[in-house]
């Protein structure tokens, strides 16, 4: 067999790994009932492909071949190890396919159940019983196919720390027997919310790093959008639509929100010709669809606010009354001081800085958001517009003391310097 056909098979398998490993893994977990066993089985199946396909040719349905080979590899492995550990034999017995089993059955069965298997995997990785950082790491590794080392780099942490999170999350799934299934309709809203939270956290981690020198880590945001699209394809719920829209609309401003030297540029100062019109069009369409469903929630409302911004030619030309109205709905749906703060900024744009300042001061007097840097920088900005330099300086300094993000620090320092001029 010529050398290049092995290379050809390797390239084919690499491509299959990228496009199919999430689906293959999801089905193997269902068939084998264990994350680790399924992962090993999948890797072994790809290795078997590399060994056998150069001679036997690439099978007509590579995914089915990999699934059925992986399943058999797992059972063989358990059988072999059972000679040294009796408990493994029982597991192998339980997994043994029924008498009339043939590889072709796996093919047809799995093709139909693939979307369900993928949803099962997403819901299990985002199970509320898992620690939040574990959910995020597990989803990136098992659903998105990133390696432990890649995820660690994206989160600015070490691979062993990240590896432990994944090991712990998997142990919890196994020990607490978290069910590998799509939740029942009555459970769906709460469980879907947990999934959307993971996707949005992933996006934000990539859009605005919580610490460190780089403001954006585009790869994480890209994965979040990919996952958002997949989720919507598998489960067309309005809030999934709203979340994808929100991410697309925020992503559309990526190029405009930092200067070439990495400095932060606020929405009102951004060069709007740099906004990605294709992403905006897609996002706006999704918002409209989600709003029409009348079953929308906070993600759709936030996306609707982002859509109003996207359609304005400048900060001044923005439909601020519309934005304030959307914030009113949002604050009613999910009461939160951060939403009140954003609403205050919109009110300042609609009615003038004084009106916004009164709302922010009201929040701070209630003792909420006093440790939140954006509350102080928003207050500083309104004071600056009102010409109240001393108060503006004090608030910028307070914000500076509270932020841990390098580009934001530089931004606040710049604003402080400008006050002196």
């Amino acid at each position: 067999m010529p050398e290049n056909s092995i290379e050809l098979v390797r390239t084919t398998l690499d491509g299959l790994y990228r496009s199919e490993s999430g689906r293959i893994l999801a089905t193997l977990i269902r068939l084998l009932g264990d994350f680790d066993l399924a992962e090993d089985a999948m890797h072994d199946a790809f290795a078997a492909g590399l060994e056998r396909w150069p001679q036997e040719g690439v099978p007509a349905n590579p995914r089915s071949w990999l699934i059925s080979t992986g399943r058999h590899k797992a059972i063989d492995g358990l059988r072999r190890r059972a000679r040294f550990d009796a408990s493994q034999d029982k597991i192998a017995d339980q997994l043994l396919p029924s008498g009339d089993f043939a590889p072709a059955d796996v093919g047809t069965e799995s093709d139909e159940s693939v979307p369900d298997d993928q949803l099962r995997l997403i819901f299990t990785c985002c199970h509320p019983a898992l620690a939040p950082e574990g959910r995020l790491a597990l989803t990136l590794r098992e659903v998105c196919g990133l390696t432990t080392e890649e995820i660690a780099r994206a989160f600015l942490t070490t691979a062993p720390t990240l590896a432990q999170r994944i090991v712990r999350a998997k142990a919890k799934i196994r020990d607490e027997r978290l069910p590998y299934q799509v939740p029942a309709p009555e459970e769906l809203p709460a469980r879907l919310d947990a999934v959307l939270q993971v996707v949005y956290l992933m996006f934000n981690e990539g859009y605005s790093a919580s610490a460190g020198a780089s403001l954006t880590r585009a790869d994480l945001s890209g994965e979040a959008i990919r996952l958002g699209r997949l989720l919507l394809e598998l489960l067309p719920e309005p809030e999934g639509m709203g979340l994808l829209a929100l991410m697309l609309l925020q992503e559309s401003r990526r190029a405009a929100r930092t200067s070439p030297s990495g400095e932060l540029i606020l929405l009102e100062d951004q060069d709007r010709t740099q906004w990605d019109r294709a992403l905006i069009a897609e996002g706006v369409k999704l918002v409209e669809r989600a709003l029409l469903s009348r079953r929308f929630g906070p993600y759709t409302l936030q996306a609707a606010i982002a859509a109003v911004h996207s359609e304005a030619a400048s900060a001044a030309a923005t439909d601020w009354p519309q934005i304030v109205a959307l914030y009113n709905l949002l604050a009613r749906a999910v009461p939160s001081p951060v939403i009140e703060l954003n609403r205050a900024v919109a009110v300042a744009m609609r009615d003038g800085p004084e009106a916004g300042l009164a709302l922010i001061d009201g929040l701070l007097q209630r003792g909420v958001l006093t440790e939140y840097h954006l509350a102080h920088s928003a207050r500083a900005d309104l004071c600056r517009r009102l010409g109240r330099k001393g108060e503006a300086r004090a608030s910028y300094e307070r914000a500076l003391a509270l932020t841990q993000q390098e580009p934001e620090r530089r931004f606040l320092e710049k604003r402080l310097r400008e006050l002196e001029e």
Partner: protein, 127 residues
Amino acid sequence: MKYICLGYIEPNKFENLSEAERNALVDACFSYDDELRKNGHFAGGEGLQGPQSAATLRWENGKVAVTDGPYAETKEQIGGILILEARDLNHAIQLMSKHPGVKAGPFEIRPAADLSGMMQESEERRG
């Protein structure tokens, strides 16, 4: 990606097992190594003779000094190394968690460092 697994063992722990226990452990270890080999995960490995067989070289006062015994006296000594081919650290952890050798002593798993950049720079310096 290659991961180097350092297998540690307490001195005399192995020797103090009964013959049947020792055989069972050895058979299980070799059988698992075969499984790793079969699936392309075993990229090399050696068991080591006891620490009393070691010679340690050290730069001292401008010349190489040779002493016997291992460099550090610790309760656990390296008993063997295994070079593992795995997709990422969690995959390596998974594969080694099933290795029966972990019952005899801890494994330390470290990714192989990529020295190709360093080697290339060095070659350029050496001309």
